[in-house]
Amino acid sequence: MIYLSKVEIRVSTIEDGALFKRVLLQPGVLEYFPMYDLREVEDAVRIWEIFCRKGASLTAVKDNIPCGIAFLNLQGYKKLTHQCLITIALDEAFRNQGIGTKLLEKLIFISKDSFNLEMIHLEVYETNPARRLYQRLGFTEFGMHPNFIKEDGRYINKIFMQLSL
């Protein structure tokens, strides 16, 4: 695990939007997101900027290369502000090295420490291998949205998972 010492997790800057966009457009990545093409990805990056400006996004950097992003989709309504949805995207060349775990662990930390959240949750497609990572970090399932994704006549279910803080 020596390589992990070279991984730094820092608060994202607006410039990291380019990283988010690049990762989303890597082959196969959009299979795990609702976006379909460049236009939809750019729309998602614009929404990310809102949370980034609130300090709610983290960037993983390995050997000075930004390689992953995780953020809190902070809620706007007062009665919902104790919880939020989270999103994570990791460069495919940097997977299976513990970076996703480190990124999420730090996100969980700032959820409690900086944003006073009591619960975070996520939405993951049934086919996404990242489900194992979320389970390992303590996320539990609370439902399934049937046939949430429809692509080329193929349907994929969406699983809801949450973590009480």
């Binding site: 009591e118 439902g143 049937p146 429809k150 949450q162």
Partner: protein
């Protein structure tokens, strides 16, 4: 009434209504009228992304003076029809806060619960669940 909806105050309500009514632009909103007075409204929150555009959430609200008279049932029935015929929706669902009387109506109309998230809503240090109920329009 606001217990069942995301807003807690006037400012939040304004924003909520703005988003809700923006869907009337796409003719995705229906109004119930009784003797020329609008008494209920139901809206499909159509999804902007292509891969998820075959299904959507909806919201309804009925004037308290006209509740328990079939207005909600009629709105849901008409929303299902609108979703299927005009927008080629295959599945519609509702996000319900707490144990809302709406769950009974939805059960009657073939909706099934597919997720229940405890403590999703927090009001004055009390917690309430959100319940997601969906209906397959292809069946």
């Amino acid at each position: 009434m606001l217990h069942w909806f995301p807003p807690s105050n006037a400012q939040e309500l304004e924003n909520f209504i703005k988003v809700w009514m923006s869907f009337s632009r796409y003719s995705a909103s229906l109004t119930s009228v009784y003797e020329k007075t609008p008494i209920g409204i139901g809206t499909l929150f159509l999804m902007p992304y292509r891969k998820v555009a075959h299904q959507c959430m909806f919201q309804i609200v009925v004037d308290p003076d006209f509740q328990r008279k079939g207005v909600g049932s009629s709105l849901i029935k008409n929303l299902k029809h609108l979703a299927k015929t005009q927008f080629r929706q295959e599945y519609i669902y509702a996000e319900i806060f707490d144990e809302n009387p709406l769950t009974v109506l939805l059960n009657q109309q073939g909706f099934k619960e597919f997720a229940r998230q405890e403590k999703y809503v927090k009001e004055k240090d009390s917690y309430f669940p959100r319940i997601l109920m969906g209906c397959d329009l292809l069946e």
